[in-house]
Symmetry: C2
Subunit: 486 residues, 2 copies
């Protein structure tokens, strides 16, 4: 296995091509590394400048005193062989080659890339790229990456054969407060292949879930061997792009990847325990579920809903995804009978018929969680319903209603109630080791999609739609079966 | 055809069950109507109170002077026959029956509902519901609905056999600034059926797109006859819930709907020109596309992207949905050759390989739009890229970079550039009458998803993912084919 520790945790970095021209990649990345809070030494290398952003620049790598763990390169393709020679003299082992103009551009580029990889291999230099957006490691605040995104720390690591797809995922993660561990845009993979990163992330203690955006792999056999080993340790979720003839041709012109047959990929993925996603957004939603929720032990789903329609939509999604909704055990039915109006559904989905009583919410979820009849619970419309009550309250106040508390204290109380429900959800997930998928009635931009609780293994994810919740449940069940089969 | 003008545009409303208890439906709706800005007369009817929210209450309908266009009822099921008798004496023709406890609750409820509908039909009273969340009409600010949502005005009208699914769609519409015309939760449909609303909305000048959430229809033949007539006039988009055995059982317990075979529904929908959606979120996304964009005349898609990976993902989505990506005409290739670095893709998708030049964006979109080789354009990563440049700029400033303008003026300039691109997109849609689907690089919560331009027939919708854009394109193409076949 490649030891990529000094790549992802470099003690010092030399940056060849660092620039103050803000429209250059040498500026995107250089400012990003500093602004991102990297705490090691960072040496700009420039022939023309004495300082860059106030840091002393060195004309060549050789003139930097002390060891260099990582060299980042943004200068044109024609300069790369010379820089590699400097790396070799200096004993540098890791390079991020942002520069494009290699195998993705035609015969000449292919030739140059061969010389680069040949020299690198002979001299023990590991190269990320070329034609890459770079890497991110939130664990040491290393943002050696083309776009200024700032996802928080977490357990998800991303390997992307497309920098912009990977960066869009990081952007979503930042927006939705989903924590990431590491990111690498693998580019043309002239030395380091996506399976090398996969192998490294499988062993990485800071990575709990691995996400891959793949256009094509050079050595399918090795890729799936590594993947299967990784999948036994932690979930590996992959999106395969270039599935169709049109997509495959686009992939060939993008990273030079040979797309191969999608059917063969799917079959091999299934055998290796890889979870296959349908789109970049699904990739992230699944990663977040795997990182936050326990796995279901089976496919039996209990549904609790504030309104019937959501229950129907959820039931359809479940059955279409191979999950079942077993009927309510008599004990549960009797218990709910004592709490709910006579016209409640008396079945699974449990329809709370719009009762705004918090204790009913809590008890229904609790009783379903504790039952051996269910492996997972989806509850709908409960989170967010506090906000709905709040709006009625505010309207009533505006109309001069005679209400016994002020808006602020009601809001505080309702927020507390919602947080209690989510805290309780996390406690129940820990107690019964089964997942819960809350789907919100109202989710505004200010709401956190992930609810965390101190000292808890699990977090609650609040889903915006039943279909997203059920998709995650299906794939987590699939992975749970894989783990018990190996 | 039922004349529902006085239901959706009542000059005055009597509200039986209006209440100041904010946990009652009689409060949810009553406060919502006032707070929503309804400008007609609103008379609370209450035996126990003299005023409700400062408005004089009447003990019975008979005591209200003058005509009543609409009666809203939230009192228990047992009171409804008496209220109907009062309506009949008073000459009331329209009722919204929020009350539940009818056919959805078992044999006794079925019996009561039959008496209600029988009396209503004999006396010419049209009933929405029972067991409904109510109606909304943004055109006259009528929010006679259970949740306090405030979507803006627009052309989309929603018919929902589930109040909570319908209300969640309105909530999303409000959040994403998608304009709605009317909403009705059809409930148990004891008198007015979903096809009655469909027939009315088909003729309604304020409705340009009709959206339906359906669990089951009583009279399939009439439903599809009405639907086909409607679909010839304007797009009708439907989600059928209760597709599976599990979902069908849940639907039966929800609104008593008999789900029927999904295959038969799908086939009939295709023949009638109904666009079928897969989820509530899809319903709204499609409605918004149909309301804002011209229809594509064919299935030939041109893709312009700032980065290769998105192009691959989009190409896959297109082919999987029956769309094609014809190669670039020589003229366009030569033109782009003169603008782009040597290593650009030279094919469709056009990969702008990360060039941050606004003129290149604009010209690439323009040249693709103007070409007869394409019926629709998807462009990726261009909208939002200004924000990315802004972040680099801000970082450079923080690091003491020697920049010639302040952050504020750069931001303003970049915002202007983005607005110009979107304005130009709208102009080109008008000029060539073909749709454009921009997918954003970065879309934050503050961004508007819909970009409008004064005096323009069309608006630009900014998509968060390629798959959503391509889904809309596929369904718009499908509808375009339907229109040319009838």
């Amino acid at each position: 296995m490649m030891d990529l520790d000094r790549l992802f945790y470099p003690r010092n970095i030399a940056f060849v091509g660092a620039s103050e021209n803000i429209l250059k990649w040498g500026s995107y990345l250089f400012t990003n590394i500093i602004d991102g809070g990297y705490s090691g030494n960072l040496y700009p290398v420039s022939k023309s400048r004495e300082t860059i952003y106030g840091r002393r620049a060195y004309p060549t790598l050789g003139e930097i005193e002390g060891e260099i763990d990582l060299v980042i390169v943004t200068t044109p393709a024609s300069t790369v062989m010379d820089i590699l020679a400097q790396c070799s003299s200096k004993g540098v082992r890791n390079m991020i080659l942002i520069t494009s103009g290699f195998s993705e551009t035609g015969a000449e580029g292919v030739e140059l890339e061969k010389r680069v990889s040949g020299f690198a291999r002979e001299n023990g230099i590991r190269i990320v790229g070329p034609n890459t957006m770079g890497i991110v490691n939130t664990q040491n605040s290393l943002f050696a990456n083309g776009t200024h995104v700032r996802p928080g720390r977490g357990g998800i690591s991303i390997i992307a054969q497309s920098g912009n797809v990977g960066n869009q995922m990081m952007e979503w993660a930042e927006q939705e407060n989903i924590g990431l561990s590491k990111f690498v845009g693998s580019g043309n993979e002239c030395v380091l292949k996506c399976e090398d990163y996969l192998e490294y992330f499988a062993e990485d203690e800071d990575t709990s879930v691995i996400v891959m955006y793949i256009e094509g792999v050079d050595d399918g056999r090795r890729f799936f061997e590594v993947a299967k080993k990784a999948a036994k340790k932690k979930p590996v979720i992959a999106l395969k792009a270039g599935r169709t003839g049109t997509g495959g041709r686009a992939a060939a012109s993008h990273t030079g990847a040979l797309a191969g047959s999608y059917r063969i990929f799917e079959a091999a993925a299934r055998q290796s325990g890889i979870i296959v996603a349908g789109s970049p957004m699904e990739l992230l939603a699944l990663a977040s579920a795997f990182d936050s929720l326990p796995l279901p032990g089976g496919n039996r789903v209990g549904v609790v809903t504030l309104g019937g329609g959501w229950g129907v939509v959820t039931a359809d999604e479940c059955e279409e995804r191979g999950l079942t909704l077993p009927e309510l055990p008599e004990k549960i039915r009797d218990h709910l009978d004592s709490m709910l109006p006579a016209f409640w559904s008396r079945g699974n989905p449990v329809d709370l018929v719009g009762q705004p009583d918090v204790n009913v919410f809590r008890e229904s979820i609790e009783i379903m969680m504790s039952s051996d009849a269910y492996d997972a619970i989806v509850f709908l419309g409960i989170v967010g319903s506090m906000k709905f009550i709040m709006r009625v309250y505010e309207a009533a106040r505006r109309l001069g209603g005679n209400l016994d508390a002020d808006v602020k204290s009601v809001k505080k109380r309702l927020d507390e109630v919602q947080n209690q429900i989510l805290d309780r959800t996390i406690e129940l997930m820990e107690k019964y080791d089964k997942p819960v998928y809350p789907v919100a009635l109202i989710l505004t931009d200010e709401d956190d999609i992930i609810h965390r609780k101190e000292d808890s293994r699990y977090s609650a994810i609040i889903y915006k739609s039943p279909e997203e919740a059920v998709l995650c449940l299906e794939k987590q069940y699939q992975y749970s079966r894989f783990l018990s089969s190996v």
